[in-house]
Amino acid sequence: MNLYDFIFYFFAALTIVSAFFVVTTKNIIYAAFNLLLTFFGVAGIYVLLGADFLAIVQLIIYVGGILILMLFGVMLTNKITNVQIKTEASFVIPASIGVGLFAGVLIAILLKTEWRNSPADIPISTLVPIGKLLMEEWAFVFILLGVLLLIALIGAASIARKE
């Protein structure tokens, strides 16, 4: 097992285990911190796949943005003074059976298919090609993304404000 494989297994295990805990833990704060580890593991795998730009964006947006927002949500909706963080599960058995079937079929299909089995030459950095594509061919979508973010800001402010 070379170093590359070892790093993959490390991040994959980190991702799987923490993702599992996000869904099973009773404490919502633990869930949030496990989600942090999942995001971090996924970012590590992005680096292995040669997607350095996305790895950084993953850390900035998911860990730095979305997760912080969620922690704010947890803090604002559970009064710190009377810690009553109750989060039960329901429909566990029917959901597990259905999802188990789905999982089996999906993974069996993925493993059975013949894929091209070596990555293309991993570029030194994906920053330049992605930047060029975003500013040229995908400029229209990029601008739309700006509109979407603007609207999301306005909307979030308009329903969360007190008066």
């Binding site: 993925l110 298919t113 979508v141 979407l148 609207i151 909307g155």
Partner: protein
Amino acid sequence: MIPTALEFQLLLPVLIIAAGILISLIIEMFSSKSEKILPWFSIALFVSTAYYSLLTVGHERIIFNSMLAAGGTANIFFFVFTFGAAIVTLISIDYIKKIGMYYGEYYILLQSAVLGMMLMANAQDLVMIFMGLEQMSVCFYILAGFNRKKIKSNEAAMKYFLLGAFATGFIVYGIALMYGVAQTMSIPAIANGLLIYSDNIIFVAGLLLFIIGFSFKIAAVPFHMWVPDVYQGSPTSITALMSTGGKAAAFSSLLIIFTPLFATTQSTLFQPYLVVIATLSMLLGSIVAIAQTDLKRMLAYSSISHAGYILIGVAAGSELGIASVIFYLSAYTFMNLGTFGIISMIENKDEGNLSLNDYSGLGNKKPMLAALLAIFMFALAGIPPFAGFFGKYYVFIAAIESNLTWLAIVGVLSSVISIYFYLRVVVVMYFQKDENILNVEDSSPALLGIMISALLVIVMGIAPGSIINLISNFVK
């Protein structure tokens, strides 16, 4: 590649709305009279876009690095969305003041929701479909919860948001699997190799996940659990847009995906899935609607069963099927907008007057509104000569031509069931003694919007042949 001037010209409907959003923001920021200006500005925006879309309907072309389509069916959908949104704006003017939630953001969010719908209807790339869908959904999440002091509205927003984001997860994963096989996200490029990909189980699984995601958005059974709550809890004017424009936009994206598939020998690949959800939606929608006493909730179930009828047209998988889907969606849009418009006028400021009994004696007190509501109920039930009848007629014909006669029979059966709960409203209005005092505040803009919808419903019922011919011209 830099787009040419002609491409910008053909994209003008989208650009007008996009520019309108920014101008509305500036109006809202700087004008003290924005309360008066904004609604009429939005209406001007929507109507001019609708007019321009019809004007350029003949210029069919793929533009912007083959990311968007212009002309043809996309423009017909543009017309439905923008004209429908204009009617919704008319309905909203007095309604949102009545229930005490006037904020300028309302109209801005309405415009951006329409922008999202338009992008869904003319996308030629999976990325564009995703962007349009998210633009629309994000606006609807906010608008559903816009009446933020009412807990019902909060709940509706929450449920819509969680289920909507769940569906987005399916759609993105489906796109990922399709991309892995096809190595591209461009729909024309995927369409070229569709015959090869449709043997690839990963591609089919991806497409299926994508369609399941959209089944949430079109409110088909068994992905309908959010619909009654969200339609009931949201402000009525928003329910009107969600159940018409939102549904039409989701169907337009499904058609973009399905049209290339229908052209291949694999055209019946997803027929079993479509047939099952169509049957379930029609029957469950019609049967459960009978038990409802809240009018908005009843219309939510009716909306589920209409999704079922429209899915028959998609399952037929022929040119007539696609044309009939577009016809049905336009007819349904105007029928439903009118109905919700009347409900929003009768609703009082504490969200009362929504149950069926509150409509008793409406025929005496407000003969005009009662007559209009009767027209819409007849149209929704599919009674000739209104638009709803011909919508169902063409869909069923398409099904019979594609050897799905039994599905058409189920459709007819379900329409017969649905006549009961639609006509019950009419009976209550005209023949039931009124026990309660009904205070209906007059609103001339809303009445104008409702009358325009009624006019369109009648016109589509009188001249359905020429309209379906017009649509068929643009369905390849």
